[in-house]
Symmetry: C2
Subunit: 494 residues, 2 copies
């Protein structure tokens, strides 16, 4: 027998590890948000080979401080404002811990009845909390499932859409080159990636134009659908976004939904980041028109206090999804499946195997309650709105896009925006200004005291400050703003 860790050893090291995490969280604010390491530097701290004999666990623990922490971008740091937040929380970590300890593989209902049923129930709870349309409930025609990410949710939605568009022939015949997919120029790259994976080809993905608020233009969508139909193509899927990655724009779902209904096209809604906002009634305007959707997802692992991976994905008609994805070999046959009374989540996703990820979500919902979730969202929104006020009050800066949630897009104004010296000079000025914004971002991040990322919208380089880590308070956003102003001062002087 190999020297397995005994339950007694697990207790001892487990307590030490819990304490290490608690200390990490307590000390997080004192660490640089992002590390100062060069490529290869972490790898160089590791031996070239695995040990021949087992090591003492204290050496492993020591390496967390020696190798891991200094090589980390600290996503849970209160001054991590990059990308979108990647929340976790105490109850989430503990739910994941139980899941790891149980080591259950819930591919089928029968291989983990509790894993399956807790997931179904908790996703119904979440549908209630967001006030999603009734047909997304498992008690109706639909149901929810946890995917690893919104990317995988988009892929699964794409496959169900192809199954429908092909009248069932897609499974056996494969993709037809006539299928087309529609999303906005501001949609997440995962939509394009999902289409590519599904064999649709990048050139059959239509990136529909947006309006001045970066939301999809329904008239442009209709025009694209008409043009493709006229050329004999088969529109299979429209993906609309609630809260785009660059600027958190909200596509007009009621208009888009009407068009999808008219053209008989599957409508998937990607609300990866902003879906969490729907726990607050005052932010549910962003979900108006969701009744048109065939599928919808958002990531509790972004802004709803649940650790990665936890994308919540719902379909309005679970039968369509299962028909698209099911393959049933003999070795997976079992009485429960054949009874037709159970959900086998393997047919709702790409992989066969699955962890008991619902535990962490269940723990989070119970620890915080609906009230606690709403407070978390409101706190992020309030801090972001305060930040936007500070930006507006400094005439060197401008807000670059509407900011209804907890992301603010902003930039240094073009230095000679008031100079009316012609198109060519405007373009030079734009380039200079983009470079200045890029340099400002570099300087702020180099301090290690805050971390922001960037995007480009309307062709211009824009800074993004995304609030949402559980530990972030207004003072952290204020600290970031001071760093930004100081960097702008230096650029002015320099």
């Amino acid at each position: 027998m190999a020297a397995h860790m005994t339950p007694e050893e697990f207790r001892r090291y487990g307590h030490e590890m819990v304490d290490w995490i608690a200390r990490y969280w307590e000390n997080l604010e004192n660490l640089p948000v992002t590390p100062d390491v060069r490529p290869g530097e972490v790898a160089a701290r590791l031996p070239e080979q695995a040990p021949e004999t087992g090591e003492d666990f204290t050496a492993v623990l020591a390496d967390l401080d020696r190798v891991i922490t200094p090589g980390m971008a600290h996503w849970q740091h209160p001054a991590f404002f990059g990308y979108f937040p990647a929340n976790t929380s105490g109850p989430s970590v503990l739910g994941d811990l139980v899941s790891a300890g149980l080591g259950v593989q819930g591919m089928l209902w029968s291989t983990g009845p509790a894993a399956t049923e807790v997931e179904t129930v908790v996703l119904d709870w979440l549908a209630d909390l967001l006030d999603l349309p009734k047909r997304f409930r498992s008690t109706s025609s639909g149901g929810g499932v946890i995917q690893d990410s919104a990317s995988s949710a988009a892929l699964v939605a794409t496959l169900a859409a192809l199954h429908r568009a092909g009248g069932g022939a897609w499974r056996t015949e494969g993709v037809r080159r006539e299928y087309t997919v529609y999303t906005s120029t501001q949609a997440h790259s995962s939509i394009e990636k999902a289409a590519r994976i599904a064999g649709i080809g990048d050139r059959n993905v239509r990136l529909v134009e947006v309006d001045e608020a970066y939301a999809m233009r329904p008239d442009a969508l209709r025009a694209a659908l008409d043009a493709d139909r006229a050329e004999g193509r088969i529109p299979a899927l429209v993906v609309a976004t609630i809260g785009t990655t660059s600027t958190t724009a909200v596509d007009p779902l009621p208009e888009i939904g009407e068009i999808c209904r008219e053209y008989g096209v599957w409508l998937h809604i990607d609300a990866a980041y902003a879906g969490a906002a729907a726990v607050c009634p005052e932010l549910r305007w962003s979900h108006a028109g969701l009744e048109y959707a065939d599928s919808y997802c958002f990531d509790p692992h972004k802004w709803l206090l649940t650790g990665f991976d936890c994308d919540a994905f719902w379909v309005a008609d679970r039968a369509e999804l299962v028909q698209a994805l099911t393959v049933l070999p003999e070795y997976l046959r079992n009485a429960a499946t054949e009874s037709g009374e159970v959900i086998d989540y393997r047919d709702w996703q790409v992989p066969l195997g699955r962890r008991f990820r619902a535990l962490k979500l269940w723990f989070v919902l119970r620890w915080y309650g609906a009230e606690g979730l709403r407070e978390h969202i409101r706190s992020g929104v309030a801090t972001a709105q305060r930040f936007a006020e500070w930006v507006r009050a400094d005439e060197r800066f401008e807000i670059a896009a509407p900011h209804p949630f907890s992301l603010v897009c902003f930039r240094l104004r073009d230095s000679n925006a008031s100079d009316d010296s012609g198109a060519s000079d405007d373009s030079d000025a734009a380039n200079d200004s983009d470079a200045a914004n890029e340099e400002l971002l570099r300087r702020v991040n180099a301090t290690g005291q805050a971390f922001l990322t960037h995007t480009r919208v309307g062709g211009r380089y824009v800074l993004r400050l995304a609030v949402g880590a559980p530990s972030t308070q207004e003072r952290h956003a204020a600290g970031a703003w001071k760093l930004i102003q100081a960097a702008a001062d230096d650029l002015d002087a320099g």
Copy 2:
């Protein structure tokens, strides 16, 4: 501010949770392996809605015993012999715990340098431990990455194969209906599912005939390739298996590899279960011919003491994989990516986001050392071989397939196997015997003292006993064998 769990509370509840898991493991042998629950029974124990205000954590802890444990199939139970094992271990659970606590999202090198580099190094370690071909190393042209499962590995390999088969046109043009995929009739269903997801269509997947040992017949593969080429199809991918799901058959890689080279087809090797065996030199015969492979995967989360999800996937040429999958939107651009000096694992997988899964594998390799891993594999193989001896010694039973690893396929013989009364009666006898084996399995599993699953090979119903849980000892297999014999006695008597 929402009432976040404080570090102090996390310490307290974290210790309680660690203790709960330790107790669960200590008590596991006394629990029924699979639960006696009906569909809906677990769900009925949960409230209909999430709580409005946060609950006390002691209520959550109590529900583990009230709701979860009684609704579990206990995959870590020493008498769980179903499917393939789904190992976990103390060091794996603790590695996952640290990963959850850090909450890092390692989609890019820059968003988690340590997460990326530890993964690269540990997969190189693992390649050494299995003695994989040099070109799979990150220090050569290839490299390893953790996927959630062998299903996703098969999908990613399929996409890279299509990219190659299309000469780069697949990305933009999409799948062509001429592409074909080859695997054996005994391959895992995930190969067919991957092809379907990639838009290839079930009818373009060729299930190649196997020999009497259930291994792919190279002549049948060649014939299928020739037939397709003659009809203008484009063979894109061959998937060979080391250790098929039904019986752990090993496809003849040297012959298959030569054919793939001759026809210029991507060769992916699915060693999901049996790959772990290659840590033992005496079992490496199963990997002969691996030098022909373009990609290879196995699941440490099956038989190598690492909790789900942890599929280790390697490619011989990482550039081909990245070219197939990359999409680079502005908001993900960063200096490290542009330097070309780093790996961004997002381009090696379907999802964008990723957890720090390498931690648990790192912990496992360090805790056990190469020696401990080998002992674990050898212990499972030895117990399975002993079990096979017992089966052979009971004339009512027969071994149904070769059993080189830790899975034994067996069955009650046809009751009149010695009776020479003609084809029609043989067929009736076969049906009776299949029904008897099915009933025997039902009775054994109903005891709750062991759990086995079944398959069909050669058209016959066969029982599978898979050894491999870390806590399984010979006495547990002996206990299962006693239950099986007792059930056979009852069937004889009845």
